[in-house]
Symmetry: D2
Subunit: 406 residues, 4 copies
Amino acid sequence: MTRAFADEARTFIDEHVLPAEPVLAKQVADTPGAWTVRPVVRALQETARERGLWNLFLPPGPHGLGGGLSNLRYAPVAELTGRSPRLAPAAMNCAAPDTGNMELLAHFGTSEQREAWLEPLLEAQIRSAFCMTEPATASSDASQIATRIHRDGAEYVVNGRKWFATGAMNPDCRLLIVMGKTDPNGPRHRQQSMLLVPRDTPGVTVVRPLTVLGYDDRDHGGHAEIVFDDARVPAANLLGEIGAGFAIAQARLGPGRVHHCMRALGMAERALDLCRTRANERIAFGGPLAAKGVVRTWAAEARVEIEALRLLVLKTAWLMDTVGAREARLEIQSIKIAVPRAVQRILDNAIQLFGAAGLSDDHPLAEMLAAARAMRLADGPDEVHLAALGKAELRLPSTATEGEVR
Amino acid sequence: MTRAFADEARTFIDEHVLPAEPVLAKQVADTPGAWTVRPVVRALQETARERGLWNLFLPPGPHGLGGGLSNLRYAPVAELTGRSPRLAPAAMNCAAPDTGNMELLAHFGTSEQREAWLEPLLEAQIRSAFCMTEPATASSDASQIATRIHRDGAEYVVNGRKWFATGAMNPDCRLLIVMGKTDPNGPRHRQQSMLLVPRDTPGVTVVRPLTVLGYDDRDHGGHAEIVFDDARVPAANLLGEIGAGFAIAQARLGPGRVHHCMRALGMAERALDLCRTRANERIAFGGPLAAKGVVRTWAAEARVEIEALRLLVLKTAWLMDTVGAREARLEIQSIKIAVPRAVQRILDNAIQLFGAAGLSDDHPLAEMLAAARAMRLADGPDEVHLAALGKAELRLPSTATEGEVR
Amino acid sequence: MTRAFADEARTFIDEHVLPAEPVLAKQVADTPGAWTVRPVVRALQETARERGLWNLFLPPGPHGLGGGLSNLRYAPVAELTGRSPRLAPAAMNCAAPDTGNMELLAHFGTSEQREAWLEPLLEAQIRSAFCMTEPATASSDASQIATRIHRDGAEYVVNGRKWFATGAMNPDCRLLIVMGKTDPNGPRHRQQSMLLVPRDTPGVTVVRPLTVLGYDDRDHGGHAEIVFDDARVPAANLLGEIGAGFAIAQARLGPGRVHHCMRALGMAERALDLCRTRANERIAFGGPLAAKGVVRTWAAEARVEIEALRLLVLKTAWLMDTVGAREARLEIQSIKIAVPRAVQRILDNAIQLFGAAGLSDDHPLAEMLAAARAMRLADGPDEVHLAALGKAELRLPSTATEGEVR
Amino acid sequence: MTRAFADEARTFIDEHVLPAEPVLAKQVADTPGAWTVRPVVRALQETARERGLWNLFLPPGPHGLGGGLSNLRYAPVAELTGRSPRLAPAAMNCAAPDTGNMELLAHFGTSEQREAWLEPLLEAQIRSAFCMTEPATASSDASQIATRIHRDGAEYVVNGRKWFATGAMNPDCRLLIVMGKTDPNGPRHRQQSMLLVPRDTPGVTVVRPLTVLGYDDRDHGGHAEIVFDDARVPAANLLGEIGAGFAIAQARLGPGRVHHCMRALGMAERALDLCRTRANERIAFGGPLAAKGVVRTWAAEARVEIEALRLLVLKTAWLMDTVGAREARLEIQSIKIAVPRAVQRILDNAIQLFGAAGLSDDHPLAEMLAAARAMRLADGPDEVHLAALGKAELRLPSTATEGEVR
C-alpha cells in the first residue's frame, strides 16, 4: 500500500510537478516583490488532493485527524517530494514548517486549538511558522533561549526576538508557534513553554526577510526576523503544559528529521538524474563526461551513500513507528548528522559536473545545495548532535555520568 | 533462529575466544618459525563444534552438504567473528579463503571432488588456498591473467606465478584452486578456467611468504608466492566447465564480500568497545579522553557509519538469498567499496585515541588496520569497482554502450 | 617597499573599506534594480587614488603604462583586498575581470586599442567584460568553442552565445573581449582569436543576468548571457594576431590566478577574524565556542592551510616574475586547484560556527562561500587542471607521450 | 652552498644508498634475531664520511662541536634522506633519536657529558635512546609523567616504566636520556628533569621490543619497553638544570620536527617516483594506469600538497634559524600536524596504485606508511597540537586567558 502511494506520488511528480518548475520560475520572476504561494502551486494542490496525495505526513491518531501514513510508509513519499523541493511538498501540503506545526497541534493541541488552526492548515487555507531560533543566542542550547513569556492575568505576554522563522514573510501565514522561557530558573529542560501567537497580534513585528546562502525562498514565505514586544495572547493559547516547551520541541524533531532527510535524499536522486543526462551529452577532451574516471567515481560514491543512508532513515522511521521517537533518538541524531553532509557533497560534485551552469538557477542544483547546507544548521548544528551521539557512544555500560558536551 | 545463532556465537566469542587471544599471542611467540594453526585454535574448534557453531557460512544446497545459514542469517554471525579476526573465524571453520573454496566445491564440484576435498575441509582436517592474483599483471582485469593451463592428454598442465595465496604457507594446506587461461584467444570472459591442484604436485613450488603492511599472518597460513612450472593434474581436476573460470570467480565473490564486510564491521565494533574503555580511563589535559569534543566526534561518526553500512550489507545478503548474486551485483560492489574504507578510517581514529599503544600489538587495532587496508585491494582495488559502479549509474536507460572503464 | 604598499592597503581597508560595507549594503537595498557600481565605491576610489593605491596589479612594461607592482609585490595587496571582496578590489581599480582585460590590452593591444580602451579602464571611466564561457559547450576545452568569427572585408563578424560574462550587466561596461574561432579547422590551439567588441555593437544582445549560487553580484555588474548575432567590428579590433586567441587566453590566466588565489586567502583570513570574535562571544553548553575542541581543530586546520598555500602562491608569483608564466604553469595550476578548495572548506566551517547567521547576509561568509565555490569552476573546473597536472607529474622523464585527459 | 650539499647528498643516495636497499633486506633476512646496525650501513657510513656528508644536522655552536648546517640549509638534505629512510639517515649519522639526543648534549651538556657521550655519538661508535613516552599515562601531557627521579646523596634514583624508546633494543645503544619528575608538586612545567642513564645501569631492564604497525625496525634498534627500578646514576648525570626537563624536551622538538617533516616529504617524493614508473608500466582495462583519471588526480594532489608543505617547513626552519624555536612554535606545530597527515594519504594512494605489491615489503611503501602513521603520534598526537594551535588562533588580541585544551 505504501508502494501504491509512492507510485501515485511518483506519477504525480513526473507528470505534473516537474513540468511546473519552469512555470513557477516564471511566476516568481513576474512578481518579484511577492512572498506568497504562487498560482501554479494552488493548481497542483487541487490535483494532488483529487489523487489523495494530501496531508500524507500526518499519521492517524486519537485526535481523529490525519488520514496519513506511518513514518515508515510516508518516508518514500517524502523522498519523492525532494525531487522538486520548491513545488512537490507544497503541492501535497507536506511542506515544512507547516507539517511539524500541524503535528504539534494534532498531538498537543486542545480541541479549540485544533479547530482554530489545525483544520485550516490541513486545508492549506492558512500557513504557519515556528519561532525557535534567536539571533542573540546559541539557541541549539535550549537553556540559552532569551525570549520570555510571562503570565499576566488571563494572558501570556511575549518579549523577544526570533529569526529564521521560515514561511513567516507570507501574508497567508497566520500562526506563529513561539518557544520562550516561562520559568528561567526552573530545571534546565522545564524552563520553556510553547505558545500559539497569531501573526497579527499587536506587538508582533515581522522585521525583515533573511537569505539562506543567497536564496530568499520568497515563493515559500521566506525566512523572517520577528520581534515580540509585549505581544499578548489569551492564556488558552498555551500549547501543551506549562514547562513542556522543550519536550514538545523534541517531539517535533523526530518526524521532521525523517522528512527532511528523505527529502534530501530525493534531492540527491534528482541531482543524479540530471548528472546522468548531462554526463552523456557533454563532450570534453575527447569524450563524454560519463566516460571520465573522476565522474564515474563521483557517481558511484553518491549511489553507495544514498543507498546506505536511505536504509538508515527507513530504519529510523520504523523505530519511531514501533518504539517511539524517544527510544529512536540516537538514530534520529544519526540521520540528522549523516544525510545533509552526504547530500551536500553529492550536490557539490553535481555542480562541478555541470560547470558554470550548475551555479546558476537554470538547474535546481544550486538552490538544492543551499537547502542541504542549511539543513546542517537547522534544528541545531551537526556538532551538537555529534557531541551528544559521541557522548552516548562512549558511555560505559555501568555509568550514567553527565559531563558537558564539548 | 538467526538471533539464536548470533546469541550463541556472541557467548562463545565473549567467553572463549576473547580470553584466548593472549594465549594465541603466546603460542605464536613461542613458535616463531611455524606457519601452522596453533593449538589454541584447535581447542576452540572443538568447543565451537559442540555448540553447533560450525560451518555456518555454507547455505544448505542440493549437494546435501552445508547445514549452514542463508546469507542474511549468517551475516550477523560473520560480524561477530570479526571481533576477534585471528581466532573466531578459524574457530568456527568460517575463515577465508577456505569458506570461499568450500562454496566453490559445493556448487561446482563433482561428487568425487567434493568427497576428496570438501569433506575434509568441512572437517577442518585440511586447509586450502585460492590462487588468483599474479605479481606481473593487474589481475583485477581478468583478461590480463598470465598463468596458462593447457590440456595434454588426460592431464592439465599449469604454468605461471601467483602470489598473495592466503593460507598456502601452512603445511596443512593441501589444495590450491588455481585460475589460469585455457583459451587465451577466446571471448574475454571465457578464456579462464579453474583447476584443483594439490599443493604437493610436482612443479608446484611455494617460493616465499609475503607480508601485508608488516604482518605475515603466520598463524593463519600466511600469504604465499607460488610458482607453477609444468605442474600436471588429472583432467578430472577441472572445477566446473572449461572456460567457466571467470564466472566461477565471480560466483565466489558475492558471499565472500558479505562475509568480509560483516567481519570488518565486527572489527569496527571491537575497536569501539576498546575505545569506550580507553577513553574513560585515560586522562589528559584535565579530563578523560571521552570528554574531548574531537573524540566524541570520532565515536559518533563511527557509530553512524557502522549502522548505515550494516544495513546495506544486510540488504545485500537478503538480495543474494532472494534474487541471486548476479542481480545483486551493484550492491555487492557497493559494500566492497564502502565498508573497508569506513572501517579503515574508524580503526585509524581508534589508533590515534590509543596513542603509541595503538600502533603496537598489545591491542588488536594495528593488525585490524592492516586487514581493513588490505581489503581495499583484495578481489580488485576499490577503483575498479568505483569505475564499474559509476559506469552503471551513469548509463542512460535507453543505452547499453560499453566504454572502457577508466 | 611591498611592505609599505601592503601597510598602506591594510590601513585603507581597515579604516575606509570595512566601515563602508554596511553603506554598500544599504545602497544596494535602496536601488534593487540597478547593476551599476554604487556611489560608495566611487568615493572609495577617490580615496584610494589619492593614496597611490590604484592599478597596482599592472606591472610596469614597455607599453609605458602601469605604475603597478610585480606579481610578487602585488600579491600581498591582492590578499588584503580579499578581506572585503565586494569593495576593496573595485575601490583600488583592481577588480576582475577588468584587471585581466587591462593586462591583455597592455600586452597585446595596439597603441590605438590601448588609447581607446586601456586608458579609460585605468581611469575607471568604463568597465569591460571577458566573453569566453559558452552555455552549449564544455568551454574549458578550447577546441569546443562554438562562437565563430569570420572576416568580411574590413570587418570581423561574430556569431555565438556566451555567458557568465562578469560585469557585463553594468551599463558602464563598454568593452567585450570575445574569444571565437577564426579557423575551426586549424591546429587545435591556433583555431581561436580574440576580438574587441564594443558592447553597443549592433547584433550584441545582453540577454539576461545569471546568478552564482543565489547571488547576482549586481553591484559589480553581474554575470550576463550575451548573444552575438552577426555583430560586426572593424578588422582593427582584433587583439593580437589571428589565431593567437588560445595563447592570449593562457597569458591572461597566470596573473589572474595569483590575484584570485590571494584574494581567496584574504577571504579566509577575514573569515578567521570573524570567527575569532564570534567564538569568544558565543556561549553554548557551558562555555564559549572558542573552548570547544572541534572549533579549535577547525581554526588550527585553517591556519595551517592558509600559511602553506600562501607560500605556494607567493612562490608562483615570484616564478612568474622571474621565469615567466609559461615556465610556472604547473605552479599556476597547482594554486588554482588547491586554494579555492581550501578556502571553500574554511568558509564552510566558519558558517557552521556562526550558525544560521552564517547563512544570512548579515555577515560576508555566505557570499564569500559562493565566490570561493565559483572559483573552482572559473577558468576551467578543478578536474581539468588536476588531470593536466597529474599527467605532467606521471610523465616519465624520457617520454613526451600525449594521451587523452580523463 | 646548501645546493652543493644537497647535490652531494642526492648523488650519494642515488648511487650508493638506493642500490644498498636490497642488500640491507638480505642482511636482515639472514640475521633475523639481531637488533644491530647491519654491515651495509657501516659501509655506507664510511662513504658518507669521506664525502663530508656526516653530522650535517648539527648546527655549529659555541660548544665547538657540530660542523653541520643551519636548519634551513640542512632541511633539503633531510628531505633527501627520507627517500631511503631505513638507510640514508643512518648512513649520514643523521638518524633519530640520536640526532635529537646529540643536540641536547651539545646545547645542555657539560663538557664532561659531551666528552663521554656526544663525541662517541658523533663518531657513530655508540647509539642512544630517548625515554619519554610511558605506557600508563597520556604522556603528551607532561604533567602526567609517572616516572620519578629523586636525589639520594650524590646520586639520582630513577623509578618508572617507559616505552617506545626507539633504538634501545640495539646493544650498541649505551645511553638513555630519561625524563622524570623531580618535583611532582612544583609548577606544571617545572616538575620534570632530564637524566643521562647508561643503559647498563643496574635496575635498568629492557623488557621487550614493540612493533609499530607490524614493523619492529630491528635494523634500527627497534622500539623498547624499559623498566627503571631504583636505577642509580651519579648526580652529575643530570642534563641541564633541575626542573628544566620540560623546557629541554621542547627545545629538542623544534629541529626534530623539521627533520621528521622533511624526511616525510622525501618519503612522499620517493613514492611518487615509484608511482611514476609503475603507472606507466602497468596495464589494466585497456591502458596504462597513468592514463586513468583517478590516478592522475592522486598524482596531482600529491604534487600540490608536497610543494605547499615543503615551503611551510622551509619557512619554519628559517624562522628557527633567525628568531628561534620559541618564536616559531606555531609554525613548528603546524608542520607537525600537516605533513604526516598528507604523507600518510599520499602513501596510502601509492599503495592503492601498486595493488597487493604495495602491501608487501617488495617496495618500501608499506614500511614508509607505518613510519608516516607513527609520526602522527610521535611527540604528541595531532589532536594535542591542533587544540593548542586552534586555541592560539582563536585567542583575542587583548586576552591571554588560559582554558583547558579540549
